[in-house]
Every structure is written in structure tokens, then in C-alpha cells.
């Protein structure tokens, strides 16, 4: 096959990817876009298989088969609640693949010339950081306890040293190629760096980490493109890199923190008020029956889902309660904070899974002016994103973070297992407000109890 035909096919594939991302601007066209993107990928794979000289058919066929089987199984078996873990795992695989391609092309002698060698080094380093970092992110999302609170003294200095030494270890490989040993040493150091970078990051910052690793997996693919001098790989990789970076920025803005602060700084909860001073004697709780009577009279209801809804898998119970409320004539909408849950947009997916139409789900800036006119706001397993002390300019870890203004609703119901603090580790004065009622329960159980009680109200 002439290289012209091959490159033309690659161009078509790249255009498919761009068109698909463009079609993601609306939920109506997004699914078709995904099909177009996968067609582009298939085309790229088929063309590459056809043009590779003396292709090892057995190796390729068996590898594609194994990969397809594992991928299909993962895609089918992952729960919507477990989506952050799935994405973390896939990020890691992408990084790992780029690292292996760089290593293999170095060994095969394909990577020659300054550009290819530098790119090989970068592919290896970025790939290794993505791979190990993603696996740690996966473990943290699965709440493996041994990963908690591992933040060595002098964390920033160690990170800087590891980063510098992984770059430094690549120099001998570039100066006197192939220098494979140095490549693998650099990758080993970078793997360690990836572990260290992610292990120290707090639970609240997980959405940022996932986006950042997503971006890295794209950059790793792009640098593989530089190794092989393949434009399509460069284009596809940079699209992913840009996508991850945009989401990272959005998340950081939604928490009023800089990227550097998320990656290198720890949250300091020590400056915040003591829980006893905030809550002492002021918190009121209510039973499902009392709350059902309140809800029975409510005309406008805004539901604020948080991570607690996801862990309790309460989205279907929520839909059930909302249907009962709507049947009684109430107007029910949903308010989603940009960093609710553990990855951007996670809450929207959970609500969509429970057949809640997306036009009832509002973003923070659209819903905030409406809380003043809201009879009841129901907060489900969310904490920091509704904490009014974020409105203070400084003096606490979430100062300046934009929040959902639920405290302006006539009544606020907070469905939560206890008064324990959220990711930021600080008490929430919302729980002690005169118009707040606490409802202590697991997300799913609490919601179905409310629905049952509402029947009799």
C-alpha cells in the first residue's frame, strides 16, 4: 500500500476523532459521535495492520483478541458508581501502552535521531508516571486503607528530585543510543514518582487527579507519535491531552485552588472552627415521617446529590421519591456542583442511569438564584459543596470555593449518616442553621424510607 493511501486513512481517522468530540457538545448527538470516533479507530487499526511489513499475524491476532475480551468485559461489568475507578484503570493502561511502545521501538532500533530519542524518553517517563499514578488512583478510589495518609516528610523535595533524576537518566540513552538500560532506569524512577504524586492527594481532589492523568495518557500517546513520526498519533494524543487539561482547569476553578496547590499542597483543616462550637446544641434532626409531612406540602424542591448518593447506590431510590413528589404536584429539579462525586460529571451519569431526564438537572450557576424561591432543598450525602463558610474570603481550607446556596431555601433537609466532616475535614455550619433538619441515614435507605413515609402523609 502506498504511504499516500495510508496517510490519507490516518487523516480520516483524525478527523473522525475531532468530529466526535465536537458532537459531544450536546447529549443528542454525543452517542452518534462516539460511533464515528470508534469507526476512526477501527480504520486506523486496519490500515496499520495492512501496511506493516512482515507482520507477525499470530502475535497481533492473539493480542487484539485478549485486549478486546478484557476491554469488553470491563465495559460491560463496570457499574455506573464505579466509573471513576474504570477511568483511572484505563488511563493507566494507556500510559502503560505508550511506555511499552517506546521501549520496544528503542530495542528494535526504530527510534533513531535526536527527535525520536527525546520523544522515546518522554514517552517512557510520561507513560510510567501515568501508569503507576493511575493504579494508585484506582486503589484510592477503591478505598484501599493502606494508601491513606501516606505523605512523606519533604514530599515536594522528593517529587522534584525524582522528576529531575528521571529526566537525567534519559540523557545517556539520548547521547549514546540505544542505552536501553538507562531507558528502563528512568522509567522505574518515573513509576515511583507517579506513585508518590498521587498517593499524597486527598479524596476531595480525586476528580482533579483523574483529569490530570487523563491528560497525561494523551500526552504519552502524542509523544509516541513523535517517536514514530506519525501525525495521527500526535493529533489524537494532543486532543486527549487538551481534554484532560480543560477538565483539570474547570475542577480547580470549582474548588478555588491552583493546580500546583492540588498536586503539591495538603489541605489544612487545623484553622477551622471546632465541631463542638459549630454544632453544640443547635443541630435539629427529624424522622422520615416528619420530613414526609414537610415534603407533602412543598411546591418547589431542589435535590443536591453528593458522593454519599453514589456510594449508597441510591440513584434509583431517589428517582422513586422524586416521582412520588412530582405526582403530588411538586416541581423537582436537581442541582449539581462541578466537583460533586469523584469525577467530573459523575452525578449526571448516575441520575441518567436512574432515568432522570437531563433537562431537570441544573448546573450550579443556573440553580443558585433559584434557591431563594425553593421550599425544600434536599442534600444527599454532600458536605463541602454546600458549606456556607466557603463564602468567607479566607481562614478555612475551602474559603472562596463556589458553593450551592442551599441555605437560602426555606427548609434544608440534609440526608447524611452522621455529622462527620467531608473531604475537607471541617465542620459545616449549614447543619446548625435554624432552617436545617438533619436526617441521619444511609443515602439509599433514607430515600426509600422517605418515599414510604410519603405514601401515608
Amino acid at each position: 500500500m502506498s504511504s499516500g493511501v495510508v496517510n490519507l486513512a490516518y487523516l480520516i481517522a483524525a478527523v473522525c476523532f475531532i468530529v466526535a468530540f465536537k458532537m459531544m457538545s450536546s447529549p443528542r448527538s454525543a452517542a452518534r459521535g462516539n460511533t464515528i470516533s470508534s469507526f476512526g479507530m477501527l480504520l486506523a487499526i486496519v490500515i496499520t495492520v495492512l501496511q506493516t511489513k512482515s507482520l507477525n499475524v499470530t502475535l497481533v491476532a492473539s493480542a487484539l483478541l485478549v485486549g478486546t475480551a478484557i476491554g469488553a468485559w470491563l465495559a460491560k461489568s463496570t457499574s455506573m458508581t464505579g466509573m471513576p475507578q474504570m477511568v483511572a484503570l484505563l488511563n493507566g493502561f494507556g500510559g502503560g501502552a505508550s511506555l511499552l511502545v517506546a521501549g520496544a521501538s528503542l530495542h528494535a532500533g526504530d527510534a533513531s535521531g535526536l527527535q525520536a530519542l527525546i520523544a522515546t524518553g518522554l514517552s517512557g517517563i510520561i507513560g510510567a508516571v501515568t501508569f503507576s499514578g493511575s493504579l494508585v488512583a484506582y486503589g484510592k478510589l477503591e478505598e484501599w486503607k493502606f494508601l491513606d495518609g501516606l505523605r512523606p516528610k519533604g514530599h515536594q523535595a522528593i517529587v522534584a528530585t525524582l522528576f529531575a533524576s528521571s529526566i537525567f537518566a534519559m540523557v545517556p540513552m539520548i547521547v549514546s543510543p540505544p542505552g536501553e538500560m538507562w531507558f528502563w532506569i528512568a522509567c522505574a524512577i518515573a513509576s515511583f514518582l507517579g506513585v508518590l504524586l498521587v498517593v499524597a492527594i486527598g479524596g476531595a481532589d480525586m476528580p482533579v487527579v483523574i483529569c490530570l492523568l487523563n491528560s497525561y495518557s494523551g500526552l504519552a500517546a502524542a509523544s509516541t507519535g513523535f517517536v514514530l513520526n506519525n501525525s495521527m498519533l500526535i493529533i489524537a494524543g494532543s486532543l486527549v491531552g487538551a481534554s484532560g487539561l480543560i477538565l483539570t482547569q474547570i475542577m480547580c476553578k470549582a474548588m478555588n485552588r491552583s493546580m500546583a496547590n492540588v498536586i503539591l499542597g495538603a489541605m489544612d483543616a487545623s484553622t477551622a472552627a471546632k465541631a463542638d462550637d459549630v454544632y453544640g446544641g443547635k443541630v435539629k434532626s427529624a424522622s422520615a415521617e416528619e420530613l414526609a409531612m414537610l415534603l407533602a406540602d412543598a411546591q418547589t424542591i431542589v435535590i443536591v446529590p453528593g458522593y454519599g448518593l453514589a456510594v449508597s447506590q441510591g440513584q434509583h431510590a431517589l428517582k422513586d421519591l422524586a416521582s412520588k413528589l412530582t405526582a403530588r404536584g411538586a416541581k423537582v429539579t436537581y442541582a449539581i456542583h462541578p466537583v460533586a462525586g469523584r469525577m467530573p460529571g459523575h452525578m449526571n451519569v448516575l441520575l441518567a442511569e436512574a432515568d432522570i431526564p437531563y433537562d431537570q438537572v441544573k448546573e450550579m450557576d443556573d440553580i443558585n438564584p433559584e434557591f431563594k424561591e425553593t421550599d425544600v432543598a434536599i442534600v444527599i450525602g454532600a458536605n463541602d459543596i454546600v458549606n456556607p463558610i466557603a463564602r468567607e474570603p479566607k481562614g478555612n481550607p475551602i474559603a472562596g470555593m463556589p458553593i450551592l446556596d442551599v441555605d437560602q431555601a426555606r427548609t434544608v433537609i440534609v440526608l447524611k449518616r452522621s455529622l462527620s466532616p467531608g473531604f475537607a475535614g471541617i465542620p459545616n455550619p449549614l447543619f446548625a442553621l435554624p432552617n436545617t433538619l438533619m436526617f441521619y441515614a444511609d443515602g439509599k435507605k433514607g430515600l426509600s424510607d422517605l418515599a414510604t413515609a410519603l405514601k401515608d402523609a
Binding site: I18, I70, V87, L90, G96, I210, A222, V349, P357
Partner: protein, 91 residues
């Protein structure tokens, strides 16, 4: 050097295209966006396939593993994105 500048030009332009296009994806679709870009970053599979013509145990092992990982990425990413996007319905 010329080759690098060409490749780098493509890189810079693609980053700009990426920013312009992806900025318009609304927040409710950010999770499918992430998993779809997972799938696209599996494009490394092309790099791995191009190496599948070389002989030698080490290259073959590395290439095999690279194809497997990248294919999991591609199939898993598109599969899960499709599952999610099919759930989004208008009221």
C-alpha cells in the same frame, strides 16, 4: 530538524483544535468525555501494531503487552462511553 518542526506544528495546532472543540462539551457530559478520550488515547495501539513486524523475544513480548493494554483502552473506553451516552434522555 525539518521533520521535528512539521511534527511539532501538527502538535501545537491539534492542541488548539482540542481546546476549542472540547471547551464546548457541557458539564453533564464530562464523564463520557473522559472515557471517550480514554478510548482515543488507546491510539497508541497503532504504534504497537507498527512494531509487530520485528523479530526477537523482547520486542515481541513488549509489543504483545502494548497491543493488549491499548486494545483494552480502546474497547473498554468506547464500550463504557456508549453505555453511558445511551442513558441520557430528555424529559
Amino acid at each position: 530538524m525539518d521533520q521535528f518542526v512539521t511534527a511539532f506544528t501538527i502538535f501545537v495546532l491539534a492542541v488548539f483544535v482540542g481546546f476549542e472543540v472540547i471547551r464546548k462539551v457541557p458539564p453533564p457530559l464530562h464523564t463520557p468525555l473522559t472515557s471517550a478520550s480514554n478510548a482515543v488515547s488507546g491510539i497508541t495501539v497503532v504504534g504497537a501494531l507498527a512494531l509487530a513486524g520485528h523479530e526477537g523475544t523482547l520486542v515481541e513480548v513488549l509489543t504483545f503487552l502494548a497491543i493488549v493494554l491499548a486494545t483494552v483502552n480502546v474497547v473498554g473506553g468506547y464500550g463504557v462511553t456508549n453505555r453511558m451516552l445511551k442513558m441520557f434522555k430528555k424529559g
